[in-house]
């Protein structure tokens, strides 16, 4: 059923006239041409599609568009403040905390959500908080270190 859905995306107001049952991941990637948010499994198991909704990490592959009505959505394209990278992005880059890079947007957004809720997590809390984000290339160690380093700077 078509309806008008308004929300904030990366700081800008968005208004879409579409079926509210559609899944946020695909609306972002297709209608809004923001392809940084990735499809990995489509059923919430890998975390590649993670975005922030009102500051909390959410799996966009499991979220109907209707669920973000009136809320603030941030994708990887909105994580940086203009030209200035987010400390997480800087630390991931600095430490080479990625190989293929396909899981990276989801890793970064999940980490951003983690730090929003717990600005100075212990290493165990970081590992625990990232447990649901999968990486096949094996950048695990560097990802945890990058999040740890970013949290200490923030």
């Amino acid at each position: 059923m078509r309806e008008t859905i308004e929300f904030t995306l990366n700081g800008e107001p968005v208004s879409l006239d579409t079926d509210g049952d559609r899944i946020l991941l695909w609306v972002l990637r297709t209608d809004l041409e923001l392809t940084g948010t990735k499809y990995g499994c489509g059923i919430g198991l890998c975390g590649s599609c993670t975005v922030l909704v009102d500051g909390e990490a959410e799996r966009s592959c499991a979220l109907p568009l209707r669920a973000v009505r009136g809320r603030e959505v941030v994708t990887i394209e909105g994580l940086a403040g203009g030209e200035v990278l987010h400390p997480l992005q800087e630390e991931f880059a600095e430490r080479g905390a990625l190989q293929c890079g396909y899981c990276t947007p989801g890793m970064l957004m999940n980490a951003a959500g983690l730090l929003n809720g717990n600005p100075h997590p212990s290493r165990e809390e970081i590992v625990d908080g990232m447990e649901g984000n999968l990486c096949r290339c094996g950048a695990h160690k560097r990802i945890i270190e990058a999040i740890d380093a970013a949290s200490k700077r923030m």
């Binding site: 392809t35 940084g36 489509g42 880059a93 990276t104 625990d128 447990e131 160690k141």
Partner: protein, 657 residues
């Protein structure tokens, strides 16, 4: 390569980037020889072209740096020589008085210099020098330094274009389904409900199955869910993992082919042994499961085609599209995109075949993508294998003979000769066996198999390194010392073992329930030893805490990329130990997603410390060598912790009860 009059250097990159860092490494080699400034270089991914021009463009076998050290360095050095010659001519001085440094040619010690941009037009008119003069390694400015990878910036801000992210005007999106049973085919379908899904445009058949074409990816998937498909399941509809297991076990009882024999007659040694020990090691089918499922965007024009695809093998894609479309290869433009992981899966061009067929059917551009389920169930899996090992001892207790029989699916499928590639890790080892017999028995199945990072080496070394530990235990010897003794003819392997052992603290006592294990391996030009520290809890769960890795692949181009490949190799290989298994029931893969084929999580990932050992020339591979020794290092550590031998991967908790 090209240099423009502003001095910007453009490099056409023959090999793809899938996160392994070769594009950066190859750029370092060229830039170093050119004496180019790092920030004045731009990369263009080369279109697939003839081997005669490009050599192999395939990233496989850990070859990218090895095979292009020559051409990339020669290109940079040749250009440098021509720029220096142009400057010398401009100044009217001997070439010997000029030198290249920092994107310019300098005249003696006068302080005068000319930038590359100012010289390039003159240089381009000069004859290409016949003799290429490469730098002395002491002059390297990039090589052997940890240069940040060039692909990283676009991968942390979301702008990197992977296969799923590529867009071209008016393109459609399609998802496909193949017969879930290997060897089956499409009989028909009812698309009534599919065509009612908003956004779905049409349903098309192609050689391997059926595709739903839509205006968006989401609509294509919804449409596919609604499609009623009638499959002819073919001859394999009853095939199960139990049958395949039994088939290999049966094959192991049949007469094998002799692949290698060393020392005194090993058969006589076995027959005459005072004592023999034997063991069977087994490896499961494993899926590549890169984070980005298979995807390709194709646009078939009247007499040409463009394909934008994450691939390891652009020339294979070109050949495949040319064959499928019956089109001259020159008319096939393969645009290589970033791969969201590959590990050998993207050496295959099956998904390119799908895409060009579907584009031809609909007469326009289309992105053909696989779902996670399709990707898991239609892979080219790491072959299943079974290893029979035997060791003999004389009456005095001396180790006298080693036997390793490999039973596996052969990718070459030749029945008239030994498949030596399938015997990686089993034959041609540098172990100085007292005598040895290596045997081969092919046992092929209808399950598609392919190269999975390190190909057969992981399976062969798992059995070899696991059983060496058993022989050492039988002899009451320290497994590290025992290996060192047998490797006296391979000092480079001894050195990686020694470094890994020292880093883990080999001879220290470990607490109850924990253990240290070690293993080594050689493949694709690289030697690696891993030392593993593990614990096994009261519920028999294995936790790998730390891996100390030593790698000797000769010269190093980018030490940070080497470390990343070792760290990543450890995690990828650990998945095959802890979880990675593809099983069959009723001719179809049972696993669908990461729920049934779990990857290594953050909590499971061990600390990995990489120690680079520069054992000398030649340049060896880096991507694959870290894989083979990991599984045996872990099971050997589990033995040290529990006294129980794990001889089958993935391991099962029940095996430790």
């Amino acid at each position: 390569m090209a240099i423009d009059t502003d001095g910007k250097v453009t490099i056409w990159m023959p090999r793809p980037e899938m996160g392994q860092g070769s594009r950066t490494g190859l750029t370092m080699i060229l830039a170093d020889e050119l004496e180019a400034d790092w920030d004045r270089i731009e990369l263009i991914q080369a279109l697939a072209g003839p081997r005669a021009v490009w050599g192999s463009m395939t990233a496989g076998g850990s070859t990218s740096i090895r095979q292009f050290w020559g051409p990339m360095g020669d290109a940079g050095a040749t250009a440098r020589q021509m720029l220096v010659a142009a400057a010398a001519a401009r100044w009217g001085v001997p070439v010997e008085t000029c030198r290249a440094e920092g994107h310019a040619v300098h005249r003696g010690t006068t302080g005068e210099k000319l930038g590359y941009g100012e010289l390039v037009e003159d240089a381009a008119r000069l004859p290409v020098p016949e003799e290429v003069v490469r730098k002395d390694p002491s002059e390297f400015r990039y090589i052997d330094r940890p240069i940040p990878r060039l692909d990283i910036p676009s991968k942390v801000d979301g702008s990197a274009v992977f296969g799923f992210d590529f867009r071209v005007p008016d393109m459609k999106f399609a998802t496909i389904r193949r017969c879930p049973v290997f060897g089956g085919q499409l009989r028909g379908f009812d698309d009534t409900e599919t065509l009612r899904v908003n956004g779905v445009e049409q349903v098309v058949e192609f050689s391997e199955g059926v595709a739903v074409v839509a205006g968006s990816s989401w609509a294509a998937m919804k449409g596919m869910d609604a499609l009623v498909i009638d499959w002819d399941e073919g001859p394999n509809a009853g095939l199960s993992s139990e049958q395949i297991h039994d088939q290999l076990a049966q094959a192991a009882t049949e007469e094998p082919m002799e692949a290698e024999r060393t020392g005194d007659d090993p058969r006589a040694m076995l027959d005459g042994a005072a004592k023999r020990i034997e063991a069977v090691y087994e490896c499961a089918y494993v899926s590549h499961s890169p984070m980005e499922p298979m995807v390709a965007t194709a646009h078939v024009h009247k007499d040409s085609v463009d394909v934008w695809v994450p691939t390891q093998a652009a020339q294979t894609c070109q050949n495949t599209a040319a064959r499928v479309l019956d089109m001259p290869r020159e008319q096939v433009r393969i645009h290589t995109l970033f791969s969201g992981g590959a590990f050998g899966r993207r050496l295959q061009a099956d998904y390119v075949s799908d895409a060009v067929q579907i584009s031809r059917s609909i007469g326009g551009p289309v992105q053909v993508f696989w779902t996670r389920v399709e990707d898991t169930q239609h892979g080219f899996y790491r072959p299943i294998s079974r290893h029979h090992l035997e060791a003999g001892f004389d009456a005095a207790g001396n180790f006298t003979v080693w036997r390793h029989k490999v039973v596996a699916h052969s990718m070459s499928s030749r029945t008239d000769r030994v498949d030596n590639s399938a015997l990686a890790g089993a034959r041609s080892l540098s172990y100085d066996w007292p005598s040895s017999l290596i045997e081969w028995k092919m046992s092929n199945t209808p399950i598609p198999v392919g190269a999975w990072r390190s190909v057969y080496a992981a399976q062969g070394w798992f059995a070899t390194e696991g059983f060496i530990d058993e022989v050492a235990a039988e002899l009451g010897r320290d497994p590290f010392e025992f290996r060192m003794e047998l490797l006296k003819d391979d000092p480079r392997m001894q050195e990686v073992l020694r470094v890994a052992a020292e880093a883990i603290g080999w001879s220290r006592e470990t607490p109850e329930g924990t253990g240290i294990g070690i293993a080594c391996g050689f493949c694709f030009g690289g030697r690696v030893a891993h030392a593993a520290e593990v614990s096994v809890d009261s519920r028999h769960r294995v936790k790998v805490h730390r891996i100390e890795s030593a790698i000797d692949s000769g010269w190093v181009v980018n030490p940070d990329s080497v470390a990343a490949q070792v760290e990543g190799g450890v995690v990828l290989a650990l998945q095959t130990v802890l979880h990675g298994e593809i099983t069959l029931r009723n001719g179809r893969v049972e696993q669908e997603t990461f729920a049934e084929f779990p990857l290594v999580t953050m909590e499971e990932a061990p600390l990995v410390n990489t120690h680079i050992v520069k054992g000398g020339s030649p340049l060896g591979g880096v991507g694959e060598p870290p894989i083979p020794p990991l599984a045996p290092a872990v099971v050997n550590a589990v033995y040290a912790a529990t006294g129980k031998r794990l001889r089958s991967i993935p391991i099962r908790t029940d095996d430790l009860r």
